[in-house]
């Protein structure tokens, strides 16, 4: 373990240099925190398909349990059970549009992770930073349990558990637990735990701040200790189910997989679950008595328990849906937690939008009518008053409003349209609209069908224990 411990120290130093301004010490978050044998107990794996450009390069790193797809470079980093999905990286020759500028790519884009420590983190999509269109870079960064880095480079930053950095370039920032930022670029900022902040310059700004007592109940994080709260307990209770899927090299799908659908070998399926055509179930998704209608997707770290999705529903990375029924084309944003029960089920009507980082944890049954948007923390019907609007009403906002703990400025119509546009893009990218007759509209669900996995393990003894050899893979 000697070299691995040295590596962890070096990563802490790199992050601390970047975060010297807020005087942040990353050490207690990553030292002695994962029990040593876990670094060499789990294997990492990378996917190989005829449809994705192939290039993996791993050097001087520890990758326990991590998953890679697309072009990925990892150097001098510790990745623990993270999912690095580079299947939406841009290609050489593509034109990247940004604020009207057209930027042609001179190389295939790669995910480049350097001097970083990621713990169960999801890294997806591609660089939205016009300054580095060919490199989706994560550098000098620490990212804790179930954080999402989605769509932009991150440098010199600390991401708390269940936080999401979405389409936002970060330089030297601290993002608190369960905070969500989608603001294009942030530098030397400290984001409070439980803050949800979406900002498009000159167009709109949405923000919501969870109350401290609510946040503490769901996720709290004390330096040097594992995060605690409902979110952690929920994942811990079900983690045993994942062991079996990772012990096998190959397995027959546990349930039928219809035309155009994809069910990852590394997803858990228990109880009476069913998936329809064009459904995508990603690795580390969990289905229990889940019925997934045509074109729905269940992304990494999502849990669908005793629930029905009517079709073309999006459950973004890390969301959890329990005892719920979702009408068609419902969007459930990152790390949302929707928990009904058999006594108090949750119904969400067609075309609804559940904002990222929304908590619905019911004390009575609840129905969200079609075409509504919800956010914040909802336990009962009364909570809807300050945390739900019809999309029609939201679109009528012209200058701004505030409702309860939510503040909005700018054009509601612009805001709603931009979310709708994104949902359409997500469905398309995931293959929801695939037509088997013509082969048109292939997306992830179809492109990933012929995936095979290669596994990599670390040295299990000696000074390099827990570290992986250098591996370079090309087509």
């Amino acid at each position: 373990m000697k070299e691995l411990n040295e590596l962890i120290d070096r990563i802490a130093d790199r992050v601390n240099v970047n975060l010297r301004e807020p005087s942040f010490d990353a050490g207690p978050y990553i030292r002695g925190f994962i029990s040593p044998e876990k670094f060499y107990r789990f294997y990492a794996f990378y996917g190989l398909t005829p449809d994705h450009p192939l290039r993996f390069h791993f050097r001087n790193s520890s990758l326990a349990g991590s998953y890679f797809l697309g072009k990925c470079f990892v150097e001098h980093s510790v990745l623990y059970k993270s999912d690095i999905r580079g299947d939406e990286l841009k290609s050489r020759g593509d034109i990247f549009s940004y604020d009207g500028m057209k930027i042609p790519l001179h190389d295939d884009e790669i995910v480049l992770i350097r001097d970083s420590f990621l713990l169960k983190t999801l890294v997806h999509s591609h660089s939205n930073d016009p300054e580095s269109p060919e490199e989706y870079q994560i550098q000098n960064t620490i990212s804790m349990h179930y954080a999402n880095i989605h769509g932009s480079p991150v440098e010199g930053s600390f991401l708390g558990p269940f936080s999401t950095v979405d389409l936002t370039t970060l330089h030297d920032c601290v993002i608190g637990a369960y905070a969500y930022v989608q603001v294009r670029e942030l530098s030397h900022h400290q984001i409070e735990p439980g803050q949800v902040w979406i900002h498009v310059d000159g167009a709109f700004e949405f923000s919501y701040q969870f109350a401290k007592d609510v946040l503490d109940r769901y996720i709290r994080h004390i330096p040097g200790k594992a995060p605690e709260g409902v979110f952690m307990e929920f994942a811990e209770n079900l983690k045993g189910e994942f062991q079996q899927v990772f012990d096998k090299v190959r397995a027959k799908p546990p349930i039928p997989v219809p035309v155009g659908a994809f069910l990852s070998n590394y997803a858990v399926v228990v109880g009476n679950s069913r998936i329809a055509e064009n459904v995508l179930v990603a690795q580390r998704a969990y289905l229990e008595n889940a019925w997934l209608g045509k074109g729905s997707n269940v992304q990494e770290n999502c849990y669908i328990v005793h629930s029905t999705l009517d079709g073309n529903d999006v459950t973004a990375h890390g969301s959890k849906i329990v005892h719920s029924r979702l009408g068609k084309k419902v969007f459930v944003g990152f790390n949302s937690f929707l928990r009904g029960s058999s006594d108090f089920p949750l119904m969400i009507g067609e075309g609804c939008i559940v904002m990222p980082h929304t908590i619905v944890d019911l004390e009575e049954s609840l129905e969200i009518p079609p075409g509504h948007i919800i956010w914040g923390h909802i336990q009962s019907r009364g909570d809807l008053e300050e945390q739900c609007l019809s999309l029609e009403d939201f679109s009528k906002i012209e200058k701004g409003t505030h409702i309860g703990r939510m503040r909005f400025q700018g054009s509601g119509e612009h805001f709603v349209n931009s979310i709708r546009h994104r949902i359409e893009h997500i469905l398309e990218a995931n293959g929801a609209f695939f037509d088997p007759a013509t082969g048109a509209n292939r997306g992830h669900a179809q492109k990933t069908q012929f995936i095979t996995f290669n596994t990599i393990q670390p040295y299990s003894e000696g000074e390099r224990q827990g570290l992986y050899p250098s591996i370079d893979i090309r087509p």
Copy 2:
């Protein structure tokens, strides 16, 4: 499969160019012979330990089910379920002695397989060729089921099923089924099926030729067809047992593994089997009601069924032992087939030598007294007359003799001593003499204990179906 089929054609062409003198056509032996889906159904794997120099490089090859350890390069080749064990390769700075010459190595040695087709072939040890001490090369070569390439480069050759090339450099040779050669160097030779030939220039020569009808019963090979006979049936009957061990990424050992012993995850253990200290059981070994005494080893493709090995016994690659009891320090050479039955068991006394490629297939119970050497084809006590000698008597041969189908020339003492010397080396190399108190005499059994495996799979669709990506692995 397009590119894989092209590769197979190119390999046949390369081999045919080398074998143009005997006008040999390799095509029918490798084209359309393995059913296509097998090339992408099985994964290959390479071992990683703190004790073995690490370097793997695979390019433009198909590696279905193959195993690698040590420094291995494979280019433009098809390897099907082969074991490439480079754990005895020489290191940079070593001095390689050859006929009194001292050759210092300027690089670590590598196994280099190019433009070749190996089918369930075992490649082991290192180059014994003073002309290429840093490269253990197999080039423009086809090697069929359960052939052994042991200890020297092979170029432009065809090796029949169950043949063994041992400490012998081959240039443009055809080695018949179940032939064994250990003659240092051969060029443009054709070795008849069932010929056993050991020759050390100026010292001794041993040869034995199996009768055609006997050979046909055990192994016969018609171009364009799978080999047939008792040897193939024996392996086929038990191959289902191997599936389960290859479906798991990791598994607990099925039986206790005592101090200093190593039991490969990729060995099959059924029935009431037991292994003692310092035992080595390699990948693709099969144990069924097998009791293995201290320091014994069971190498690749060996089967030990209803048998007891008293200790420090060597079962060389591919040997099979059924309903037998071996006293201490018995040596069973490559691809020997020792089959007693519950009615007619086989007993082999302490210190006996079973020559490579010996068939003992009993019609009555049989006991070989301690300190004897056997060869050829033995079914009953009467057969011993022409196929067994005490080592004492053999050592007394001064000029030569012939007994039945065996011919010997030169010094019997030299011959016996050279085998004994080799047995001692094999036991030492495998860790039979390991002392856990001091850590002295570590060998393969101990050095391999901390092995982890990485798996590699091919493209499962498209033009590259069945081919593996290029992979380069360094420490």
